[in-house]
Structure formats: structure tokens, C-alpha cells
Amino acid sequence: MTVTDTDKPILVVEGLNVHYDTGKGPAKAVNDVSFSLKAGERLGLIGESGSGKTTMATALMRLTRAPGRIAGGKVLLDGQDILKMSPRELRETRLRDIALIPQGAMSSLNPVMKLDEQMIDAIVAHKPGMSRAALDARVAELLRSVGLDPSVAKRYPHELSGGMKQRAAMAIATSLSPKVIVADEPTSALDVVVQRQVMQTLGRLQDGLGAAVVLIGHDMGLIAQFADIVGVMYAGKLVDIGPVRQMIETPRHPYTKLLVESLPGIEVKQALTGIPGLPPPLVDLPPGCSFNPRCPFAFERCRTETPLLQDVAPGQQAACHLYPEHQVLPPLPAMAQSHNGEARP
């Protein structure tokens, strides 16, 4: 990993709120989230469906669409607030400074344009005046950087496999050497072998650019293999964040612990345990900690007072009332499991 000498973060998210207006009031899909990321760092944001991961990815790009709206906060890219930019500044910033690899990037390609035309479109919009030869050379270079043969440039998206399309989308996203890459479940539709290849390609690209990456996903295994820092989202909130090894080996938040435990391995057969219950509806969050109805440790305070992120270990913060009383997460109490798995109290 490329480590840049500066300690100044390249991406700072402060008190970000994104709401979806519904008939039942606002659904707080991103609820007061703050974090920061330095150049070269890889943050993996993990959460269940509906935890606000994708809403977060789109908000970082300021691509939030109605009925969603950014209800407050800052997204500082190299000190500049993306949320306050003029439309022109925003247009220039996207792709050049911050780029998105969307979920199902394969369907983000234009089906009636050859790949090189799509790539050139993106480059020309930001760097007018490049000669055709220079553009072709850049396209070939970009394709090689994602492990594709430059001859692919003359193909249409339907002539490519899923993995190739995903790589092409990565080539477009990195065409202007952005400082921050937001990747929203970039491999969710791919086979395991192709997934590994695509993620390793993303890692190499990022190393080359020295960019920061926000990888959004729900697969703890994938996040663990890729990220340096893991952030866990639950019901719109960032509830736990810290260095990947600490997060997996000594998780502090009960939800993180359960997420890690719900992952089966391939060494010993074990009883498969999911996390009982369901995330709460975002328009009707329980009072106190949103996780309290599913939490095996929940006590009175959790049902009344919302926990804030606090330091629980070096570089690690968790939003949980078990701290600071406890040093580490106590052993999990035995749970009534599995067969009332989704039954909600």
C-alpha cells in the first residue's frame, strides 16, 4: 500500500445526514455519520441491506436523488465541501477527484457505445483538447491497468463478460486518477474467482494512484481481505470503526461480533448462526440504541439513551454503552437462536 507522507486526511465526512421523505416521516438512511480517510487508506463499510451503505456511497458523490435528500453535514474532499460546490465545480470534481464504481457497474455502461467511446467521453469532458492519438493511448493504458487487452476498446458492452465489464467500469472510474474511489459492492454479481481478480485489480490501481478507497459491501470476508479500516453501519449509523485486525479478532460492538460470527469457514463444521431478528424500519427506530432489540447484552440504558461513538481501543471506536466500563466485549450470553430468527418482538 502506498503511504503518503502527509497525515492530513483526504476525505472527511462530518455529521452527514441523508433522509428519505416518506408518508411516515423521514427515513434516516444516513444518520449523523462522521469518519475520515487518508490518502492510500482503504475503508470497508459493511452493513446489512437497508443499513444505509448505498445511500452513503451516493451521498459521498452528491448523487442523492429525490425522495432522498442530504439533510445536513459535510463531505470534505481535500478540504473542500462537496455538498456546497456549485454545479460546475461539482461536475469538475466528480471523476477527477472522486469517482464512483457503482453497484452492478456492468449495467452502468452504455449498451450502444463501444467501450473506447465511453472512456473517451469521460476524459474529454474534463480534459478537452487531447488529440485522438493521445486519447487512444490513454484508453489502451487504462485497459491494461485493469488487466484487459487493449483490443477490448472496440467492443460493445454485451460482447464482454461480467468480470470484463466490471473492470471496464473501473478503468473509467480511474481514468482521471481520482484521489478518492468509492466502490459500492463492485463484485456482488461476480463469481468467486472473478471477484478476487477484480478486487486485486482495484487494489493495484489504488496503490498506483495513491488514492483512498471506500469499499461498500456486506461480505465480511471480502472486506477483511481488502480493507485497512472497517466501519460497521447499522440502521443508518456508523456504530463501530477501527483497524481491520482489531475489528475481526477483537470486535468491541456486539453487532460486529455477531456479524463476524455469522460467517462460516471451511475448516470446521459449526452450527450456523445468523443474527436473530431484523434491522428496525428506518422511519420507526427504537428509542435508545437501534440495535438493542437484537442485542444479547442490551440493558436498561440501551433502551433509553442513544450511545455515541467513543474510543474503545487504539484507533477503534464503538457506539455501545458497554464501554468504558468494559475493556473488551464480554462473552456472548447464550441466545435463543435460529428458529425464531426473524420473529420480531
Partner: protein, 340 residues
């Protein structure tokens, strides 16, 4: 061993494309097992599932259900086959008609197969099936599909299958659309159905981790051919075929001391273009030998609980028959439980 379902020399071609190539497999009736069929997109796993379900006919070969060729069944035999072999599909969002309440999905099969003669009995059957899959009837009945989560919808599909007391469930990627935290629970329920109700399960997946956790045996397909098959402990725990090795090493494990597999050798245009009358995996294989290009490797048995179609094991004995299941291990003993 009497076979519940048996594929004999089954192939499926679409024009010049061979989706499945000469598969012979028999699953036992007397000891209901959990069998995984794994492979990447285009490996033929869904084709195999659809053939097992009788949804498509093989281009060559035969499918026997409890000794009867399903192509030659009488309408009443076919009806019984359809009842006893139940599908669970990948996408629980697509199988529901959004305008009908959940009850409709469950009542239709009860009516169609005349499982209950009174409303009360029908209700009891449905509630029992829902409880079997960990759903509370009061939380699900009367609701519309959009009011349920993906995991709940997938469980409704399992409940619908269970309702008919099938002998076999063919589940095609049943949890790939479900969050990781819920996958474990749903798969655990499939395992319970196998252990407690004696339903044979065929689990089609590209996820070797869950296959290892719930299944007894596995068959890994590559471009329509069996690459490796045997007990999950052998095949996933210590794969022999270079393709299975590649698959296993690509699993992202939440274990930081296990580096993700190294990069695969890129397929050169020349090797990809080389017409291969031999092993389908040859162009991607790190161990490819001259003989691999022109000869189809037979089913070698490097040990008693697995076969690998790979010339690396040419010193091992060749499997005596065609039946892939010959190397399968017996399922773990059942734990019969009185009905819920």
C-alpha cells in the same frame, strides 16, 4: 441402493453450446443426503438443477425418479413427481405476484394437491410449515410480499416446498440475494429439513463455504463437466483438481493470516483459441500438460471419497462406473424429531 433420482448419461446442448456433458449421478432414497453442486456462471449448475426438477428435458440421456423415466411418466405419476421434487429459486423477489397476499402462495399447493379438506386443517398445515422454517404465522399471513424482507420471502418459498412433504428440494442459489447475516439461518433450516424430515437437498451454489458447512457431498462443475466430486471434507478441505484449488483459494475468508490466493495465470489468446478436444480447463490450468489438450481426462479416484477428472492423478485408479455418487460419503446420521 435404491435411487431417489438418477441421471444416466445426461447431456444438454443449446445449438453448438454444451451446457452439460454426460453426467451420471444417483442420489440415494434410503439415506436422504445434502448434495452441493458448485461452479461458476456457465458451468451448467442451473441446467442440472432444471433437469433434476423436470423443467427441461436433456438432449441426451435419461432421468429416473424412483426407477421411472420421467419422460415416460403418466400424468398421475408426473403429478406425484412434481409434488415430491420441489424447487426453491434464487430470487424470492421475482416469484411472488405482488398483488396477492402471502397466503395465496401457500394455499394454492394445498388446494391443488388436496392436502386438506377443511379450512381449519389447511390453516394448520400452513402454520406448521411456516413454523418449520422459523416464521411466525401471525407475522406473515395476511401480508403482501413487499411487506416482508428478502429473507422472509425466501423462507416462505421453503415453507411452500415443505408443505407438500417433498422427498427432495432442489434449491438454486437460495441465499445469494440474502444478507450474509441471514444466510446462515436459512441454510441451517434447510439442514434441519434434511435431518428431521428426511428430505434430500440439492444445493446449487457458487459459495463453497456454505456448501462445506451444510452439505455431505459436492460436485464441482466446469463448463458442463465434472471437475471434482466427493465428500465436502475432501473436496473443499483439500481440493485436488486445479480448478477446485483455484475456487477454494479465491474464497475471501475473514482471516487476516490467510492471504487471498495469488493471481491466476492469464489465459493467452493462443491457448484460449486452441481447440480443445481434451480437458475444458486446460487453457486456464497452471499444471497443463501436453496430453490435456487432446484427451478428456477420465474420473480418477485419488482416494475413496473423491474423484477428479485430471491427468495429474493418472496413477490413481479410474472410477469403476460412471456414477459420480459412487465416491459420495454417507450422510451424517439423521436425528428424527417428532413433528412440530
Amino acid at each position: 441402493m435404491s435411487a431417489l433420482i438418477e441421471l444416466r448419461g445426461v447431456s444438454k446442448t443449446y445449438g453448438a453450446f454444451t451446457a452439460l456433458d454426460d453426467v451420471t449421478l444417483s442420489l440415494s432414497d434410503s439415506s436422504p443426503s445434502m448434495t452441493a453442486i458448485a461452479g461458476e456462471s456457465g458451468s451448467g449448475k442451473t441446467t442440472l438443477a432444471r433437469i433434476l426438477l423436470g423443467f427441461i428435458n436433456p438432449s441426451a440421456g435419461h432421468v429416473f425418479y424412483r426407477g421411472k423415466d420421467i419422460a415416460l411418466m403418466s400424468p398421475s405419476e408426473q403429478r406425484q413427481f412434481r409434488r415430491e421434487v420441489q424447487p426453491v429459486f434464487q430470487d424470492p423477489f421475482e416469484v411472488f405476484n405482488p398483488f396477492y397476499r402471502i397466503d395465496h402462495v401457500l394455499e394454492t399447493p394445498v388446494k391443488r394437491y388436496g392436502l386438506a379438506d377443511t379450512d381449519a386443517k389447511r390453516r394448520a398445515l400452513i402454520e406448521d410449515a411456516l413454523k418449520r422454517v422459523g416464521l411466525r404465522p401471525q407475522d406473515t399471513l395476511g401480508r403482501f410480499p413487499h411487506e416482508l424482507s428478502g429473507g422472509q420471502r425466501q423462507r416462505i418459498m421453503v415453507a411452500r416446498a415443505v408443505l407438500l412433504r417433498p422427498r427432495m428440494i432442489v434449491a438454486d442459489e437460495p441465499v445469494s440475494m440474502v444478507d450474509a447475516s441471514l444466510r446462515a439461518t436459512i441454510l441451517d433450516e434447510l439442514k434441519t429439513l434434511n435431518r428431521e424430515l428426511g428430505i434430500s437437498i440439492v444445493y446449487i451454489t457458487h459459495d463453497l463455504t456454505t456448501a462445506f458447512q451444510i452439505c455431505d457431498n459436492i460436485m464441482i462443475l466446469y463448463r458442463g463437466n465434472v471437475a471434482e466430486a466427493g465428500s465436502v471434507e475432501r473436496v473443499i478441505g483439500a481440493p485436488k483438481h486445479p480448478y477446485s484449488q483455484l475456487l477454494v483459494s479465491s474464497i475471501p475468508l475473514p482471516d487476516l493470516d490467510k492471504a487471498w490466493g495469488a493471481d491466476e495465470i492469464p489465459v493467452s489468446e493462443a491457448s484460449a483459441a486452441r481447440s480443445n478436444a481434451g480437458c475444458r480447463f486446460a487453457p486456464r490450468c497452471p499444471h497443463v500438460m501436453e496430453q490435456c489438450w487432446d484427451n478428456v481426462p477420465p474420473k480418477y479416484t485419488p482416494d475413496s471419497q473423491r474423484l477428479a477428472t485430471c491427468f495429474l492423478y493418472r496413477d490413481a485408479p479410474v472410477a469403476p462406473g460412471d456414477d459420480i455418487a459412487a465416491v459420495f460419503r454417507a450422510p451424517e446420521p439423521r436425528t428424527p424429531v417428532p413433528s412440530a
